[in-house]
Amino acid sequence: MFDQYLARRYRTTTRPRKEDYLVRDNAAIVGIGATEFSRDSGRSEIQMACEAIKAAVEDAGLRMEDIDGMVRFAMDFTDEMHLISALGIPELSYFAECGYGGGASCATVMHAAAAVVTGMANYVVCYRTMNERSGRRYGHTPGVGFVKTTPSDHFGYIMPFGLTSAPIWVAMFATRYMYEYGVRPEQLGWVSVVFREHACRNPKAMFYGRPITLQDYLNSRMIVEPLRLYDCCVDTDGAVALIVTTAERAKDLKQRPAYILGATQGTATEGETMTSYYRPRITIIPESWYTAQELWRVTGVRPEDVDVVQFYDAFTCLVPMQLEEYGFCEPGEGSAFCEGGDRIRIGGELPCNTSGGHLSEAYIHGMNLIAEAVRQIRGTSTAQVPDVELSLVTGGLGVPTSAILLRK
């Protein structure tokens, strides 16, 4: 039908010149901050945002009044206007928001980097705050009763059929993916087991001290077939903030800078938010593939050069799918790559989600993954990979997405 997807045509002829990509090496993440991750924060989302931003400012060795830019998630319930009044920031010269749920995570850094390298701001905060466990849980169907009609055309084709929450939306991809490539549940289970191992080295992780075995995974209850409980990430209350500035300013700050080699966004035709079931194939994720192609294009890096990855792991099946879309594996080989766990755990050829990821550290919509990627560059992770030069993070997928590649 739409032959352009089948050919996966990449528009190399119309892309900007690599030399014109100004972000490369000219911006850095210089501060990271977070609240604790919990099931019930006991305070407002805006207070948690303030605490995380304060921690990030202190981490960078800045003063709060140095902050002159902010990038938020479109899905966040807080905004820069109210935040600066609580934080004592006099003015902002740059503010922006990024759409599409977790697809915004690395995009916030991309926009912040663009702002600092073009001279629109000096120090830009990127943040996400959510009482996602004690408040509105993404793993559950949202409060109903007050809405009678779906809010858009898109939702009209899914909600009336009970296709009403993220686990169900992703499970539809998983069924087809497992069918086409003969994926066995235990292959996905290894993703869950290994990331839990990593969380057990991270005292801040929600599942610190609670290892699981493959048998625990297989015994965990079905949430939405084919996804079990341990295929799903951990609903979390918490906030994470990052500070982005120019490479030049980064040299004078407190921490070793995590230089931004590349930051890219991507969306692709015939997409929907998490229900792009109408494409000729749904075992590929065109947004992630395109974001990756752009990242490799602007950085000149190849997948095999990457030392450590934080994949957006809201569900286990998304990890093998991204291994394929980012070029670490051939199509259909991602689940075999994960099987047994040796290749994706610390000490393996591609250590993944070293803080425990969304599956076992916390689910802060991708932002805790970026903080961990920065720690890997600094050498301060609780599951540190030796001699990290290149640290990759991916944004939420199945939606317009984003990625960043950091270097030492």
Partner: protein, 143 residues
């Protein structure tokens, strides 16, 4: 499917571009948007043909036959919609016209579901203002 009347099923949002589809469902006719200029079928409906950029389009009745392309079965009630008793299944069906639709199933147990299973569309009148497409098993033989 068993429903909990305390949580009515959400009604589809209708607008200028999709009204023909939902009006068709209401009268038990599955219709798809087809470009009058180049003949491309699309679903979901949209304002312009992505192949030839024509805005001339028409609603064409579907044969109502297809095969299951993917499926899920919701087991955990909080993940599912509270107005539908778990377990319930949702399927994506690839129609003979080359487009896909989302539907629930009628008379197919979760453990019977298979990718490639031939199905045909039927309709369930759930309320005065709500009719939804369902699919049931189709005897193969006829295409």
């Amino acid at each position: 499917m068993e429903y909990n009347p305390a949580f009515p099923l959400l009604r589809p949002y209708t607008d200028f571009d999709n009204r023909g589809f939902w009006e068709g469902i209401k009268r038990h006719a599955l219709v798809f948007q087809r470009c009058k200029h180049c003949g491309l079928f699309v679903h979901r409906p949209r304002p312009m043909c992505p192949r030839c950029l024509s805005t001339e389009k028409e609603w064409v009745p579907s044969e109502g036959k297809g095969k299951i392309y993917s499926y899920v079965t919701v087991h955990y009630e909080k993940t599912g919609y509270p107005g539908i008793k778990v377990p319930y299944s949702v399927v994506v069906v690839e129609m003979l016209e080359g487009v896909r639709i989302i539907a629930n199933v009628e008379g197919i147990e979760p453990e019977e579901l298979r990718i490639g299973m031939p199905v045909e569309v039927t309709f369930e009148d759930i309320a005065e203002d709500l009719t939804l497409p369902r699919v049931k098993k189709r005897e193969v033989g006829s295409p």
